[in-house]
Structure formats: C-alpha cells, structure tokens
C-alpha cells in the first residue's frame, strides 16, 4: 500500500521551497546522523587537546585488569592491561582520522586531475589514464600495502598514502564518466561556443556544479574505507602500533580475551567502528541526494 497525497492549496515551484521542505525526511536523517558522527570526531580532538579525559590512556592499573563496564571510575571498564577503555575509545579515532583525511584528499585531488585530463582532453591522454587505472586496480591492494610496510615501516601515514593512491583510478574514472556524459548532452560544446575560457568551464561548470556531489560521496566512502582498512591491518599486526590506541588494535587485542567471556574490550571498539562507518556512508548518501535532488524529481 502506497499513499500519494496532494498538498492542498496553491502548488508552488520547486525552487521556492526551502531545503528542508523539498528534501526527503530520510535524507535529512541520514545527513543529521553523519554530522553527529563527524562532530563526535571533532569532540574527540577537543577533549584530547583540553586534557578532559577521565584517565591517562596509557596508565596501567594492574589491580584492575579486564574490569567490566560500570566499574567505579571506569565507565566502560578496562582492558587487559588495566587501561581505561572509554579514554582509549575516545582517542582511538584520532589514530587514523587525519591520515584518512590525507588519503581521501590525495585520492580526490589525483583522481580529479587525471579524470579531467582524460575526460576533457580525451584521445591518447584518456587511453593512458584508463590504462594506468586498470594497472593499479589489478594489483592486490593488501599486497601493495604489505610491500610498502616491508620497505619502510608499519606507519599509518604510509598505509593511508597507499590507500589514497590506489583510490585515484576509481575517482578518475568517475570524473571522466561524468564529463563524457556532459559532452553527450552538448553541455561542454555549448559552453565553449559561448566563449567561456577553458579554466572556467572545467573549474566552475564541470567540477563545482557537476562533480561536487560525486566527490563528496567519494570522500565519505573513502573515510569509511580507511577505517576498515586499518582494522584489517591491525589484525595482521601492521596497523597503528601499541601503545597508541586505535579502534583496530583495540579490537585485535581485546579479541584474545573474547572467548574467555570478556566481550567488552573488543565489542566496544567494534561497535564504534560500525557506527562511524555507517555514519560516513549515510552522510555521503544523504548529501548526494540533497545536492543532486535525486529523490526530489
């Protein structure tokens, strides 16, 4: 059963409506939730900077190993070395948020440049970009990361650099596809015919007006992916290294005690990962729908 109801009275035009009216409620909820996650990340940095943490993240309390949640002074309990879980959870995101941002930024920047070259210039440049993209795509990413770790050191920044670079082809092909679509619709030709300079066409018409939503959704997906990647690497012992807290190494170290009935040290960071990744995905999805007016029409 589906219900359709006409708004009574005068039917107004789309552009006259304020954003929250023409948007779908579900999209606003998505974006709201995503922004909540982002603000929690910002809050984490603030708390860290202001030293408003309940405990020192590295302070060991050997009398209180693996304490359950609700223990006085330790809201979420402690881990296997007696460190405060809540504190480490709050700081855990910081281990990869900035490196993740760097990965996303380099993927977007490189992808946009290559995509514009391939899509706008076309011809040989396009073929080279497509070939390079296929080359990078066909190389197993995990192997690439392990190679880099072996050559340098297991540092989160190196790992994220690899992730950023390996995401370049995906972004490039999206941008290239968008430009091809605009070309199909005579959009670019019309802009050239009017006499607009090439830089205006690329920067304003192609990138700002038409690729904005696409790049935003790629950025949020990239962030989510960076978190997931670090978690997998932590499991192999190559992620963020102890004693620096990260959700990935917290899950990994907690998992050793999981079967003994101490669920919390690994479940708490796992839930944090779940809700954060969900937040980034929904943020991207919602923003895309709002900006593109996908559901609106």
């Amino acid at each position: 059963m589906k219900r359709f109801r006409q708004r009574p009275g005068e039917i107004s035009e789309f552009s006259d409506l304020p954003l929250w009216q023409k948007a779908d409620t579900i999209d606003l909820l998505y974006v709201g939730y995503g922004l909540l996650i982002v603000s929690l990340v910002v809050a984490s940095y603030l708390l860290g900077a202001l030293q408003w943490l309940p405990h020192d993240p590295n302070a060991l309390n050997l009398n209180l190993l693996l304490a359950g949640p609700g223990t006085p002074g330790h809201l979420l309990g402690t881990d296997f070395m007696g460190r405060d879980l809540l504190t480490r959870l709050v700081l855990g995101i910081q281990a990869y948020f900035l490196p993740g941002l760097m990965a996303v930024a380099s993927a977007l920047f490189g992808g946009t440049v290559l995509g514009v070259v391939a899509g706008y210039r076309g011809g040989g440049a396009g073929l080279i970009v497509t070939f390079l993209g296929n080359l990078i795509d066909s190389f197993p990413r995990l192997v690439l990361i392990l190679l880099v770790i072996a050559a340098f050191k297991p540092d989160i920044w190196y790992i994220m650099a690899v992730i950023g670079i390996s995401n370049v082809p995906a972004v490039a092909s999206l941008v290239q596809g968008k430009i091809a679509m605009l070309r199909e619709k005579n959009f670019i030709e019309a802009a050239v015919a009017l006499g607009l300079p090439t830089r205006t066409i690329i920067a304003k018409h192609i990138l700002w007006y038409n690729c904005k939503a696409l790049l935003i959704i790629q950025a949020t997906l990239g962030m989510a992916e960076a978190i997931l990647m670090e978690t997998s690497l932590s499991y192999l012992g190559f992620g963020v290294q102890e004693p620096t807290p990260s959700w990935g190494n917290m899950v990994q170290s907690g998992a050793n005690y999981f079967l003994q009935g101490n669920l919390w040290p690994s479940t708490a960071p796992a839930l944090a990962i779940l809700f954060t990744i969900l937040g980034f995905h929904l943020l991207g999805d919602g923003l895309n729908n709002l900006l593109e007016g996908k559901r609106g029409r």
């Binding site: 589906k2 219900r3 359709f4 109801r5 006409q6 039917i11 609106g296 029409r297």
Partner: protein, 364 residues
C-alpha cells in the same frame, strides 16, 4: 455501441511529483471508443496524455500511482473483458472539491491482477508498435527469430518451419527489401526505416485484432516517414486491421485516420470524423483550429508571412485550472461565454454528425 472493439471509459492515469507534492494528471477522465475496422487517430502535443492512454490500455504503466480509475472494455468474438476489472479493490481515492487529492494504491496487487487480465490480450489480441523501434526490439536476437516467436506464441502456426514461413511472409508483407537477408539480421544492422518495418511485421505477425501505433513515424527521416505512412495506408486498405494511431503529426493522422480525437491537458477536447475535425474551421474546437493553423502551410511559406502561433505554453497537467483547460491560450473566447470558460469546464457538446466538442461555444 456493440460494434466497439475497445471502449475506454473515464480513464484516469495519474503520476506523482515528489518535489511539488502534487499529482500530474496525465490522463484525466478520457472516454474513447474504437469501432471494428476503423482507424482512430489521437492527436495532441507533448504531455497531452495520448501515449499514456495507449500504455494504460496495454497495462504497461510502471510509474506510480499510474492508472487509478476507469473501465477499458475489450470485446472480440467470444472474448469480452474489462481490462481494469476488479482493480478498484486495490485503490482508494478521496476527493476534495470534486478533484482527487488522495490516492492509496496497492501497486503490487494491482499489477498482478492487471497482468492476469492482460493474459492473451497484450501482444496477442492487442499489439503495439513504438516510436523507437530499435529500443523496442531485442538487440541480441535476429529480427526473424523475434517475429517467429510472436507467431508461435499468438497464432495457430506453432510448428517451427510453418512459423518461419509466416514470419518471412510478414517481412515481405511490410515490403522490407531482401527479406530473406533481413530475417537473419540483428536490429542494429537495420536502418531506422527498416527497423520500423520489422517492428510492424512483428506486431502484425501475432494477428492481433487491434493495433496500437504510438508515433510510428516520429524520429525517422522525412523520406522514410512518407514510406512508412504509405505502408500503413496499404496495410489498412488490405488487411483492414483496427488501429489506434497516436501522433503529433497532423499530416500522418489526416492521411490514415477515419476518426480523430484531439487531446489537450489530459482530456479529449474534440472527437469526430477525420475530415470534420481536421477541417480546422468554425465547426472545430478553438484548440484544434489553432493547432492546424500553426503548421506552416504552402501559402504562408510563399508569402513569408508570420505563422499563427498559439500563445502561451502547453498545459502542465499539475496546476489544472477550474475552467476550460484551454481558456488561457484561447483566442476565440467571446464575452458571452467568458465567465463560463473561466469558471467551469465544459463537457463534450454534440456538434452534429457524430462530432463532439468540449467548448462552451458549442453549448446548446
């Protein structure tokens, strides 16, 4: 009206604009009847609801809410069926000020029932040719095989060899050149004109009792258009198949149709014999008249005079005015009827010899 092969009664097909939170009243109470053996032309501009009417008959409306009320009676030989029978079970309407403002529809149940009713009718009794023949044929199967499939599915020629003979016969019938060669061609190997011929062959191969042709010449080159129209005229003369012809092209309608219905803003505004309707004179709806006048004729071109345009824009069928749907653009309003035109929508008035006109000027 026992002679009617298809009788559409008060059909409403609505869509929904999410951004405006309003209904697009594409087909808004259309009643039409097609008699056995005749060609009924529906003519109108984009958005008038002519194609949506045809798709509603075929049960091919996929957008929501889609068809919401009406009857479509199909009667051929022993087969009598209302193609919308029992569908009102799955839809609930509420009206405000005589206008449907709220629709609750169980689209799944509607579709299942509609497909049940269409069984044996769609594709078999009623066949359709579309505007874009290339897009409506399977690109991965040779043309011949697609026609054979239609023959075996819908006629008594179910044997493989026999069906192939029939298919070839139909390809020859639509005067495709080198039919034996085309039989094995894929649609992409055919030109637009040849593809349309193959599409017509496929529709006719099912030996339907009603053919719906939706803009059969649009998008083809002028020289090819006239050939397709020739072909349709020839088939009409020889097979005498009942046809519902939909086109925006007055020339095509004038050449092929016996009776014509003119649609505007989701309604039939005039209907009658082709000659009377396309006369475009005093005896016609102001819209029909203006539409015919706006086509550049030989005389206007020679004198390089201005074309007689209809002012304003085609009605968007969302904001439907209370009065006559054509009132805003009409240049024939007299002071005597102005008030009625603005406030109250006219019904189809009888204008003699089977012609009916939805205009207050024709009120008795």
């Amino acid at each position: 009206m026992s002679a009617s092969l298809l009788k559409i009664d008060n059909l409403r097909t609505y869509f929904y604009s999410r951004s405006k939170r309003a209904f697009i009243r594409s087909v808004d109470g259309v009643s039409l009847a097609i008699n056995r053996g005749e060609t009924l032309g529906i003519v109108g501009e984009s958005g008038c609801g002519k194609s949506v009417t045809a798709l509603s008959v075929m049960g091919l409306i996929t957008a929501t809410p889609g068809v919401i009320t009406g009857r479509i009676d199909f009667a051929n030989g022993t087969l009598h069926r209302n193609l919308l029978d029992g569908l009102d079970q799955s839809v609930r309407l509420s009206e405000e000020e005589g206008r449907i403002m709220d629709v609750v529809k169980d689209s799944g149940a509607w579709q299942r029932q509609s497909d049940r009713l269409q069984r044996g009718v769609r594709g078999g009794e009623i066949a359709m040719i579309f505007q874009n023949p290339k897009a409506s044929m399977n690109p991965f199967e040779p043309v011949g095989a697609q026609i054979v499939e239609a023959v075996r599915l819908h006629t008594e020629h179910t044997g493989k060899k026999e069906a192939e003979q029939r298919a070839l016969h139909w390809l020859e019938r639509v005067r495709i050149d080198s039919p034996r060669l085309r039989f094995h061609n894929h649609p992409y190997g055919l030109s637009g004109g040849m593809c349309q011929r193959a599409m017509i062959a496929m529709a006719l191969a099912a030996e339907p009792s009603l053919l719906i042709a939706d803009e059969p010449t649009t998008g083809l080159d002028a020289t090819i258009q006239s050939k397709i129209v020739d072909l349709l005229a020839e088939l009409k003369a020889e097979i005498g198949i009942t046809t519902l012809l939909i086109s925006h092209d007055m020339g095509v309608i004038g050449r092929l149709a016996d009776r014509v219905a003119v649609m505007y803003g989701g309604r039939v505004v005039e209907e009658g014999g082709a000659q009377q309707v396309l006369a475009g004179g005093e005896g016609n709806h102001p819209y029909t008249r203006a539409l015919i006048a706006s086509i550049p004729g030989a005389a206007e071109v020679r004198q390089k005079s201005y074309l007689q345009a209809i002012e304003g824009d085609v009605l968007d069928t969302i904001n439907i005015p209370a009065g006559c749907r054509f009132y805003e653009r009409c240049n024939r309003v007299t002071e005597a009827v102005r008030e009625r035109c603005a406030d109250c929508e006219p019904q189809l008035f009888d204008a003699g010899s089977g012609q009916r006109v939805r205009c207050w000027l024709f009120a008795p």
